[in-house]
């Protein structure tokens, strides 16, 4: 589905997008963000849940979904482990213990920032115009293998692009997963080819 060169190029494209997202999060939270090496996987739907389990390393997750559309279409999922964002509340200016609704609001805000900066950075590099739907809470503390049932993934295979963000001083991490159906993946591959032609 993607050649080795295309995967390598996509990993580097994602790396740059992730760096931009990390910088925005670091600015919002005034904390240093440790970035991971992005991982690119093409998976059949039945293999996505085990892959997510490995990535998140947590029995239950909360997840925010945000669709993107335009020259590229797909769905971004931001997964939060059990720790979620209690520690973030203080960094975001909340002085007292937050209630559940406020916590969900923070998850949506963080997700929106990550998806916009990371996917925006990726789209810019491959010369694609994309827009985003509003983020919505997809799952609240549910087993990882339930996530994809909720997301109604119906494609033959999907691109799983994984980037991790971890705060250096706090026990908070989240994972951005980009899922694209097979036909969109072909469009994306063409754009990656044109990106590579410049080098």
């Amino acid at each position: 589905m993607l050649t080795k060169d295309q995967r390598d190029a996509l990993q580097e494209i994602a790396n740059i997008g992730m760096g931009q997202a990390g910088e925005v999060i670091a600015r919002v939270l005034n904390e240093f963000v440790t970035l991971s090496i992005p991982r690119v996987l093409i998976l059949k739907p039945n293999l996505i849940a085990p892959a997510l389990q490995r990535i998140v390393n947590s029995e239950a997750v909360s997840a925010v979904r945000q669709a993107f559309h335009g020259n590229l279409r797909g769905e971004a999922l931001v997964l939060f482990g059990a720790q979620r964002c209690n520690d973030l509340a203080g960094l975001m200016g909340y002085e007292e213990k937050i209630d559940h609704a406020t916590e969900m609001e923070i998850l949506l805000d963080i997700s929106n920032i990550l998806v916009g900066a990371c996917l925006g950075g990726i789209a810019k590099q491959v010369n694609a115009d994309i827009g985003f739907s509003a983020p919505s809470l997809m799952a609240d503390h549910v087993p990882v293998n339930e996530i994809l049932k909720i997301s109604d993934v119906s494609w033959e295979c999907a691109l799983l692009l994984e980037v991790n963000f971890k705060l250096e001083k706090l026990s908070f991490a989240c994972h951005l997963i980009i899922l694209m159906p097979e036909n969109e993946l072909k469009t994306f591959a063409g754009k990656i080819d044109r990106f590579m032609e410049a080098f």
């Binding site: 390598d8 760096g19 963000v33 090496i37 590579m196 080098f199």
Partner: protein
């Protein structure tokens, strides 16, 4: 005499992008490494005048590479080229011995003034 350049990045695409951004007709000898461990091995094996160093790499990342170079007394001009554009990342690498920091994606406009600054390009 050719300037010996070591390009260190785990991504072959990123190395290709950087090499493409180097000034045309520049008299250089280019070696490549996929992580900090390989870079240190290359350094020990031969002369390096200029190193382009990524930060986020497997095995040994850019920060660890700078530390290892300092511990071993391996000296050259190190230009960090990274997608991690947090100001703190830039401060840390400069403190650790890097001469300059360039944000990815690298291009000749970002590169040339720095090469001139360090007398590597006339």
């Amino acid at each position: 005499m050719a300037i010996s350049i070591l390009v260190v990045d785990d991504s072959p695409m990123a190395r290709k992008m950087l090499i493409k951004a180097l000034p045309a007709h520049w008299n250089v000898k280019i070696t490549q490494a996929g992580n900090g461990k390989e870079a240190i091995a290359e350094f020990r094996a031969g002369k390096v005048d200029l190193m382009f160093l990524d930060l986020t790499m497997p095995e040994m990342d850019g920060y660890q590479t700078l530390e290892a170079m300092r511990n071993e007394g391996l000296k050259c001009v190190v230009i960090v080229v990274s997608a991690d554009i947090q100001p703190i990342a830039q401060e840390r690498v400069l403190k650790a011995g890097a001469a300059a920091f360039i944000k990815k994606p690298v291009d000749i406009q970002k590169l040339e003034p720095i090469l001139r600054q360090f007398g590597l390009l006339e």
